[in-house]
């Protein structure tokens, strides 16, 4: 008895309208704000003293800021997967997941851009990217595709929101005047006429078609920041596909975690059903297997040859300094979730939540392992440099800023869910009219 199509439009509307924070919601938001504020404080320290507050050095010149950036870019790809690919493939059960994935995309790509500014030694010279930009540099490609993806994702989120804004303006008594004012400012022009609806549908289709190549670009270009150098572990033609597949995996994992949390907190059991978990579970298994496949290519092929420059790097990962983290990322980020999710019992919400968390946490450390160990194995020996440059463990400022950025992403999602319905009301109602009996 859990199909939403059994409900009347009025019930769907009242179920899905944004609700004020409860006690837990307030606590959650306060905790996130606190973490974000500590991060902001650490960044002020960094602005005052320079990047010396980090534990980066001339060898590890990119640390967790960059791996966190790669993580954010990766997880933001999910917006294109769930919305665009599912829409173009006409996947009927996508409705309750699209908005969740779109807001993850927008918030993650926003903080990806911010964390890059945090990593800059001269953030005040950011405008030089436009004044003196060199199109030959992969960084410029990243600037271009990330800003394009940000705008496209935001547009997609906005256009799909329009009919819901109309519904919310109608429900202003329930939502309060300040909110109603905001909704009117956002979309009072939307009347839902046939002509408007036609334009909206065509725009969504167009954006969905364009956002897929842009999404592939953002993560391929991000992988090229590494693959265009000579360094062992980065110098790989496999990198673009390897990054994109990993991005879809972590993004899908992120959506699973988010749909579980929203389902519990907003009591959406009738909208996000066990069937959705089952389907997402199958997709997650497929993506984890795909990413595992690319990992086998990425590590086993060079390990078979063991070229001199690769050797120190690979041994460090397999059995050396980074081995615990490396096997953690492989096992927890891919293999254990695969074993949980191949069984129908593993695709129940609770087990899925656990698998989703594992995928996301594993993916975060995986990005760290892609960035840092390579830098510790330069071609020439580490020499005539301070001893502390031969190791890297992030300073408290780096941890605080990174945690702050993660909290920032969650804050955007939390505030979004406070102001907008996290499942499209309009789409749920119209699905009711059209959906075939399952």
């Amino acid at each position: 008895m859990e199909n939403p199509q059994k409900f009347s439009p009025e019930k769907i509307t009242s179920d899905l309208l944004p609700q004020p924070f409860g006690r837990r919601g307030k606590l959650w938001t306060a905790a996130l704000l606190l973490v974000a504020l500590i991060g902001a404080f650490a960044y002020i320290q960094q602005l005052r003293k320079g990047l010396v507050v980090t534990n980066m050095g001339d060898y590890v010149s990119w640390g967790i800021y960059i791996s966190n950036f790669v993580f954010f870019v990766a997880i933001s790809l999910v917006g294109s997967l769930i919305t665009a690919i599912f829409r173009l493939a006409d996947v009927p059960w996508r409705t309750p997941l699209t908005r969740i994935s779109e807001i993850i995309a927008v918030s993650a790509i926003t903080f990806a851009a911010l964390i890059i500014i945090v990593d800059m030694g001269r953030p005040e010279r950011m405008l030089y990217l436009f004044l003196h930009g060199r199109l030959q540099s992969p960084i410029m490609w990243d600037v271009i595709v990330i800003s394009t993806y940000f705008c496209t994702s935001l547009l997609l989120l906005y256009i799909t929101l329009l009919p819901d804004i109309k519904i919310m303006i109608a429900a202003r008594e329930k939502l309060g005047t300040p909110f109603a004012k905001f909704y009117r400012w956002l979309g009072s022009f939307w009347k839902g006429t046939e002509a408007q609806e036609k334009i909206r549908n065509r725009s969504i289709t167009l954006i969905c078609i364009t956002i897929i190549p842009v999404a592939f670009c953002i993560h391929t270009v991000t992988s090229w920041l590494f693959a265009t150098t000579y360094r062992p572990g980065w110098d790989s033609t496999n990198f673009g596909a390897y990054f994109v597949s990993g991005a879809f995996l972590v993004g899908a994992g992120g959506v699973v975690v988010a749909m579980y949390v929203f389902r519990r907190v907003y009591k959406l059991e009738h909208y996000i059903t066990e069937r959705h978990f089952d389907k997402m579970g199958k997709i997650l298994v497929m993506l984890a297997l795909l990413y595992l496949y690319f990992n086998v290519n990425e590590y086993l092929v060079p390990a078979f040859k063991m070229k001199k420059d690769e050797e120190a790097h690979l041994r460090g990962l397999f059995t050396g300094e980074f081995a615990p983290l490396f096997w953690f990322a492989i096992l927890v980020g891919m293999i254990i979730p695969i074993f949980i999710l191949v069984f129908p019992k593993g695709r129940k919400p609770n087990a899925m939540f656990a698998a989703g968390v594992m995928v996301v946490v594993g993916a975060w450390f995986k990005r760290y392992l892609i960035v840092t160990p390579t830098l510790l194995h330069p071609f020439l020996p580490k020499f005539d440099a301070p001893a502390r440059y031969s190791h890297y463990f992030p300073s408290w400022e780096e941890w605080a800023i990174t945690a702050g950025s993660l909290a920032g992403v969650l804050l955007i999602i939390t505030f979004f869910a406070r102001v907008f319905p996290i499942i499209s009301i309009y789409k749920t109602i119209t699905d009711h009219d059209t959906e075939l009996p399952s």
Binding site: S61, R122, R125, M140, L225, P378, L380
Partner: protein, 308 residues
Amino acid sequence: MSIEKSRREFIAAGLLTTMAAVACNSKKTPFTPEEDVQPSGEKVKLLSVDGEIIEVDKAFLKPVPHMPSVSNEEIRKGIPGKKFAMVIDLSRCKNLKKCQSACNHMHHVHSEQNWIKVYQMQDAEMTAPYFQPTTCMHCDEPPCVKVCPVDATFKRQDGIVLIDSDRCIGCRFCMAACPYSTRVFNWEEPELTADVAAQTYSAETSVPQKRGTVGKCDFCPDMTRMGMLPHCVSACPNGVFFFGDINEDSVTNGSETFRFSDLVKDKSGYRLMEDLGTKPSVYYLPPVNRNFKFEEGLKNDEPAAKKA
């Protein structure tokens, strides 16, 4: 003689002040001193441009640099007609690190960092160890320049790769791209004395260095402009470093001069990581018939090791 010098200085100072005043479009007349200098009361007699003897307060005299300043545009072009190269003779290196200390001193490199590194190398288990000083390779296909998003690091027509610290945004992509680990980053505010910090920045001197930007060996183009050798070359007592111009086909370490092409051919010169296709401007002569034993050189590391 001192009056002669002061006269030149005075005229040059006057001209510079005029130019500065015009450039800044400030309200100052060319005759007001740049800063609020208090007259010392001590007068100096000078010959004016019109040939008259005039008296000026000593406090208003300002020393001017010996060389005319080079514009950023000229710096980015390089010295016309030149193609600089370096030859490092590994058979002569005794790990004295005079090159390193001279370079660090002249460029005010951070006390823990080095632009020149002297590696202890051993290519294979059974082969002999040797010392290998490395500078920036000033590649003809520089990977660092390729990846720079803002043209802060650039390749000049005379072959030198420089960094414009007024342009660098501190993204450190060039450090990841350089396979020779030659670049260092100013993680903190450089430790500079007040007079060094007050110098006008030039990408040719790399002084004063700036926080949040990348630094590296610059082949001392300020010295070459004056027809002098880079600091590492003149500091090395063993004549390890040869510097010169490929177009002239000659390199020198100050006391010996060789035809560059002959030297590199006769002594089987090579470049580091040739397989990467970076085409360095720094050539190495293999460590054969060495002047010193490797162990002897190791002793030179001891004081440095103690310091660390």
